[in-house]
């Protein structure tokens, strides 16, 4: 009988909860275990977060080989500094994403400083097809929510925030790209982010 066969084969299995902070498989729990030096927890954390880390690095540095290098630095830094994560100060996803963004931006700016524009321009013209890959299960869900919320910003707010975040530009560079006044861009970035914060909160 099929049901018995199924029963015999059945194992207790972990259920992944979508409730914040619950269960043994959250990024927070894995990061805490990583801080205790548990390799397997780190490997699981890698599986959860590497797509996020690599994808963000790729979007910012634009060159797959460099993105891979930066992502490796980031993920090793997560291991190295996991002892310093404090969940009272924010989520593990945000903590890791922050490290990734900072490292990727550092890479782009040092490349700019080194006058390495050629390679960057070449990489930029050959944009990889990661957008279609990013259209994934929950990825799509998040995607929609963020896009929907970005649409609630004014044009200037949205451009300023996205140029700064995905382009790795400073707010001064953003101002010159948009041909807008520097203090205006600075303010629009802040009130744009506050609006985004409120929108993401409301819709979840």
């Amino acid at each position: 009988m099929f049901d018995k066969g199924a029963e015999a084969h059945r194992q207790d299995q972990p259920r992944l909860s979508v409730v914040a902070g619950a269960g043994p498989d959250t990024a927070e729990a894995l990061l805490h275990r990583t801080a205790l030096g548990e390799d397997d927890a780190f490997a699981a954390l890698y599986d959860l977060m590497s797509g996020r880390v690599y994808g963000l690095c790729l979007r910012i540095v634009r060159d797959p080989a460099q993105a891979e290098e930066v992502a490796q630095e980031v993920l090793v830094e997560v291991w190295r500094t996991a002892t310093r994560f404090d969940e009272h100060r924010g989520s593990a996803a945000a903590w890791i994403t922050t490290i990734a963004h900072r490292r990727a931006v550092d890479r782009v700016r040092s490349a700019q400083a080194a006058g390495d524009r050629e390679r960057r321009a070449a990489a930029e013209s050959a944009e990889p097809e990661y957008d279609s890959v990013a259209e994934t299960a929950a990825g799509r869900l998040e995607h929609r929510q963020v896009r929907r919320c970005l649409k609630t910003l004014t044009e200037l707010q949205r451009q300023a925030v996205t140029l700064a975040y995905y382009g790795g530009h400073t707010y001064r560079q953003v101002a010159s790209l948009l041909d807008a006044a520097v203090p205006t861009v600075k303010s629009r970035i802040r009130d744009g982010l506050i609006k985004l914060r409120d929108c993401l909160e409301v819709s979840r």
Binding site: F2, D39, G55, L58, E68, R89, T98, A134, Y166
Partner: protein, 251 residues
């Protein structure tokens, strides 16, 4: 001047400041509880912008990272008050006044992160593009994923890979993600079954030779398990046991 620093917190959260400004903002965050609170919230918000850039890294990255980690020593735990704080934006974020509870906002962002985690567990980043679904199905799949009551269950399959099921009781629908199973063998197909007390029905047969697929299941009814079996190409009327995976759905 402090007015100026306050408005800089947004640009700081985006890493869109230069080194001097960063230092200035971070000094201020040490001293100003309301800015520290805002900074933490904006960092959390900004991290959500990375939701749309997820991409699967090359497989070798995993090996390289894990190998480097094996020979990398971890830092000592965070500095206590009075000790020099660690450099870097993340450490700085944590230096704000201690808050005993996470704010609702942070909690909400975490919920979203947990969903991203669910997707990562599904192992679908490479294999599933909703765009490739038949017309209309992508939208219906998205509706399940966006359902307020969506729950995620998964199981590692015999022989490797993973089967993830996202269900919405309200919609009476589920999404089954079969990812990276072992090759089924020549002229074999994986077949997905909905199992309930009374027996089972086929939910669909994967293309011969395929080891990854995503399908929408309508009418979950009293389904207890989603099972996957290895069958002759084109599928069978009855499942061939043992099952490769049997994912128990939420009760």
């Amino acid at each position: 001047m402090s007015e100026d620093v306050h408005t800089l917190v947004g640009a700081w959260a985006l890493d869109a400041v230069d080194a001097d400004e960063r230092a200035r903002v971070e000094r201020h965050l040490d001293a100003c509880a309301s800015c520290a609170q805002e900074a933490a919230e904006l960092r959390e918000t900004v991290a959500r912008l990375a939701d749309v850039t997820v991409a699967e890294p090359p497989a070798r990255l995993r090996e390289n990272v894990l190998a480097q980690v094996r020979r990398t020593r971890q830092e000592a735990p965070a500095a206590r008050p009075g000790e020099a704080p660690a450099p870097g934006p993340v450490a700085d974020l944590r230096r704000g006044p201690h808050r005993s509870r996470r704010s609702p906002r942070l909690r909400l962002a975490l919920g979203a992160a947990a969903l991203a985690v669910a997707a990562a567990f599904a192992g679908v980043f490479a294999t599933w593009a909703v765009m490739q679904q038949p017309a209309g199905e992508g939208e219906r799949i998205a509706a399940v994923l966006e359902a307020a009551d969506a729950e995620v269950s998964y199981q590692e399959a015999e022989g490797g890979g993973r089967v993830t099921v996202i269900t919405s009781e309200a919609l009476d629908q589920g999404v089954v993600v079969v990812a990276d199973l072992a090759a089924p063998g020549p002229d074999r197909s994986y077949q997905v079954w909905l199992v309930e007390e009374a027996g089972q029905v086929s939910a669909g047969v994967m293309d011969p030779g395929d080891s990854s697929a995503t399908m929408l299941v309508e009418g979950l009814g009293d389904t207890l398990l989603v099972g996957v079996t290895n069958e002759p190409a084109g599928g069978s009327a009855e499942p061939t046991l043992p099952m490769v995976a049997d994912v128990a759905l939420p009760a």
